[in-house]
Symmetry: C2
Subunit: 208 residues, 2 copies
């Protein structure tokens, strides 16, 4: 764990983004006003525009930070799992369990996936922001696919299955599980969906 030293300006910028992200996940980007953000952050409107060129610039920075952070979390979980088992399948199953546990431990449940939120408002954003969500999903597919390839090499799949789809399913179950949890006001619904995906992987490659 590296502790980053932030300058005064960087601290303010992070605070603005924390407040903004929380609001965006609750109300959507359009109905999150700069006024409400600066009010909570305790700065003036010009202070906001010192840090961000315009509102779209905030949108981009939020998404960038969100996906960067997500990969840090996943890399960490992958590393932990690899330390607990050399076998690609068991390491992956451990990873999924660690992921579910992590999501189960968030006090009020996962606050929402910013990528999913953006996809449902994509016509609001400039093309470069939209491209970021697409690229994100493509990277996820590639990285999870790598893991599945290694598993399939050692444990032949019991059924005929497309590994790209299987890789995509993690994103789908995650995005859908978060929506389910939010809608049902049940934080545990999401981690339970991850564990269900894990059961599927076990059935496909181990048969039980």
């Amino acid at each position: 764990m590296s502790v980053q030293v932030l300058s005064k300006g960087e601290q303010t910028r992070e605070r603005i983004m924390d407040i903004a992200q929380d609001a965006v996940l609750h109300k959507g980007f359009a109905s999150t006003s700069i006024d409400e953000i600066i009010c909570e952050a305790g700065i003036t409107k010009s202070g906001f525009f010192y840090h961000f060129r315009d509102k779209n610039d905030l949108a981009k920075a939020l998404l960038q930070r969100y996906t960067d952070n997500e990969w840090k979390v996943f890399d960490d979980l992958f590393k932990q799992a690899d330390e607990l088992s050399d076998d690609p399948l068991h390491s992956f199953l451990i990873f999924l369990k660690l992921f579910a546990d992590l999501m189960a431990d968030i006090p009020n449940g996962h606050p929402g996936c910013l990528v999913a939120s953006y996809v449902y408002q994509d016509f609001m954003f400039s093309a470069d922001v939209r491209e970021l969500t697409t690229e994100g999903h493509r990277i996820w597919r590639r990285r999870f696919r790598e893991k599945l390839d290694k598993i399939a090499a050692r444990y032949p799949a019991r059924i005929d299955i497309n590994l790209d789809d299987m890789a995509d399913m993690i994103s789908a179950v995650a995005d859908g599980g978060i929506i389910l949890s939010k809608s049902l006001h049940d934080p545990q619904a999401f981690p339970r969906q991850i564990m269900l995906y894990r059961a599927f992987v076990k059935l496909v490659f181990l048969g039980n």
Copy 2:
């Protein structure tokens, strides 16, 4: 198929809602302005307010119509599947295949789930609208759970599994699959996810 005869006013109301829903699924509810809706519908602003008390009233009507319509589609697919097989498992597997086929045949892919869109903007809406999304997910769980109970009675599950979660997973895979498809600009990604869920069901109750 019942052909409904709509009065002039009802036709306008439907047209407003069609235009609004399309815009909401692309940009979110907040950034869909009444101005743009009436412009496309070819009426004046007062015409809009003749049909809807305020903007929140439109939100509610859209969600109500969307979920009603969704259940009509599902009821129809369930009926078709039941006609093709008396067996609860095979009927369910047929239903999932029909569902996937239906989603695969939408020219530009599924336009987006209005419920999911609302969940990601829930703090914008009044409490009664928010309650509708929660209730929607609860009903889906109950109805799919019924199907799974009948299956489990005849085909004991091969693994220890929670049938409520398994029922919820349809919603999760659907919502997540739609997001995936939209983000990747690949309309077929969604139906492929449905077929993956179908493979999971087969593995759990049939073992292959």
